[in-house]
């Protein structure tokens, strides 16, 4: 039953409105302006980008807290940007051109390692251990070292992430695989499973030569990378190998064998990796559940649910920011600093941050639970 007079209701509503404004001075009150600005920006987007020298537009806050459209231009000679669009103020900012994706693999890494640099394998009793990941290793090759594929028509090297073990629960048998990225051993979807081969070292570290004696595996399967804007979750591929060709641990001077027990990334988790270009590095998980665009030779690809890592190194008692990875480290297995638990598969980065696929997503992709096949990171246990 409605017993409150209409005028009293309106008075109550007015009171609540004023009270709410004091509680939420910038909350929902800002929502309508933002939507209006977004609509205005989208409406003007086409015209703005026809103006020579306009490189980007966005929505921002003015110094007085008002939403406004911000237009980024190459230099202060750009003319024709309107001052107002649909009643929304437009601010012009000189930003220069934004950096384009660097996609040319053959330009990365730089160091063409000579076959046999450092000599010897990593396990020889009393011999000097070769822990230069860009060199050729005696078989079985350790993990974290230079690999490449026969499919690219250019000189290239990435990293052997780890040895995987596909264990069949029904028969008790195991099959072994090399784990790396699609863009390292499957040439961004262009390689052919059961045809293209994996080489150690990669051709970039071998005078751009493809040699039969360097074969350590055959491409078996890969997750295709979508370049059409559809979301990707992993950049991964596996090649079938043998325990005689591929080992399960890093060179003995590094961290040794990864654990077969994976660990989900958490913000603040300390991690490390051993890779072809920057070797052993340390870092910390900076963000998880990340959406990100990544540049490839074939274009940009959108990834969801990724891990971002920031590199760091110890200086005295403190940690300082440092590089975690660079071109050629793609495919590296990222493990927890304590316990060597697999956390991620490194596949991209920039000058400050590294991006990795969650390792469980990778292992799930290449497992087949229905057939009793479980894929795990091989820790060398029988």
């Amino acid at each position: 039953m409605n017993v409150i007079p209409s005028s009293l209701k309106q008075l109550l509503a007015l009171f609540l409105f004023l009270f709410a404004q004091t509680l939420f001075p910038s909350g929902a009150a800002a929502q309508a302006p933002y939507a209006k600005v977004l609509k205005a920006k989208r409406g003007a987007q086409g015209k703005l980008f026809k103006i020579p020298g306009v490189v980007a537009s966005g929505i921002s806050l003015s110094s007085t807290g008002q939403a406004e459209i911000k237009v980024f231009v190459e230099n202060d000679r750009v003319r024709g940007v309107p001052q107002v669009v649909d009643g929304i103020r437009v601010r012009q900012v000189v930003s220069g051109k934004f950096t384009a994706y660097q996609n040319r693999k053959q330009a990365k890494g730089g160091n063409k390692g000579k076959p046999g640099d450092g000599g010897g394998d990593d396990g020889g009793g009393g011999e000097t251990v070769n822990d230069n990941p860009r060199t050729r290793f005696e078989r079985a090759v350790p993990i974290g070292v230079s690999i490449g594929a026969t499919s690219p028509n250019y000189c290239f090297a990435g990293t052997l992430g780890c040895r995987l073990r596909l264990f069949n629960l029904n028969t008790g048998t195991s099959t072994y695989f090399i784990l790396s990225n699609n863009h390292v051993i499957a040439d961004e979807n262009r390689a052919v499973p059961d045809v293209d081969l994996v080489l150690q070292p990669g051709s970039l570290d071998n005078n751009c030569e493809l040699r039969a004696e360097d074969i350590i595996g055959t491409l078996h399967d890969y997750e295709p990378i979508q370049f059409n804007g559809a979301p990707n979750t992993i950049d991964a591929a596996i090649a079938i190998t043998t325990t005689a060709q591929t080992g399960f641990a890093t060179p003995s001077t590094i961290y040794g064998a990864p654990s077969s027990t994976s660990q989900a990334a958490a913000v603040g988790l300390s991690v490390k990796k051993f890779g072809r270009t920057t070797g052993l590095t340390e870092g910390v998980v900076d963000a998880i559940n990340v959406d990100v665009n990544v540049g490839y030779d074939r274009g940009s690809a959108f990834f969801t649910d990724q891990i971002i890592i920031e590199g760091r190194r110890r200086r005295g008692r403190k940690y300082v920011t440092a590089s975690f990875s660079d071109g050629g480290d793609s495919g590296s297995l990222i493990v927890s600093s304590e316990g060597n638990n697999p956390v991620g598969l490194l596949f991209a980065g920039n000058s400050s941050y590294t991006i990795a696929n969650p390792i469980d997503a990778v292992l799930d992709r290449f497992s087949d639970a229905a057939a009793g096949n479980i894929m795990v990171v091989d820790d060398g246990s029988p």
Binding site: A13, G27, A28, Y34, L38, S60, T99, F347, G349, Y353
Partner: protein, 86 residues
Amino acid sequence: MPLLVTSWWLMMAAHEAEPFEDRCQQVRQLIWKMSGVQAVGMAESGGQPLVKVYFESRESLEAANLAARIQGVRVETVVSDAFRAN
């Protein structure tokens, strides 16, 4: 007066106890559409979860803060180059 009541109702509706994850997701979707955004993820500071945004240019940072204010979600922004496959 009806307009006033409607405004009040809309405002209150926007601030109803929406799950934190949903508000984060809305903020992330808004931010992802902004120019210069390289990546958006979840991080934390002082044990409190927050949305972390990696921007190409410092010029874009204010826009993310605006989106965050709308939903009452904390946002941390850092400047970051474009990401590329390694």
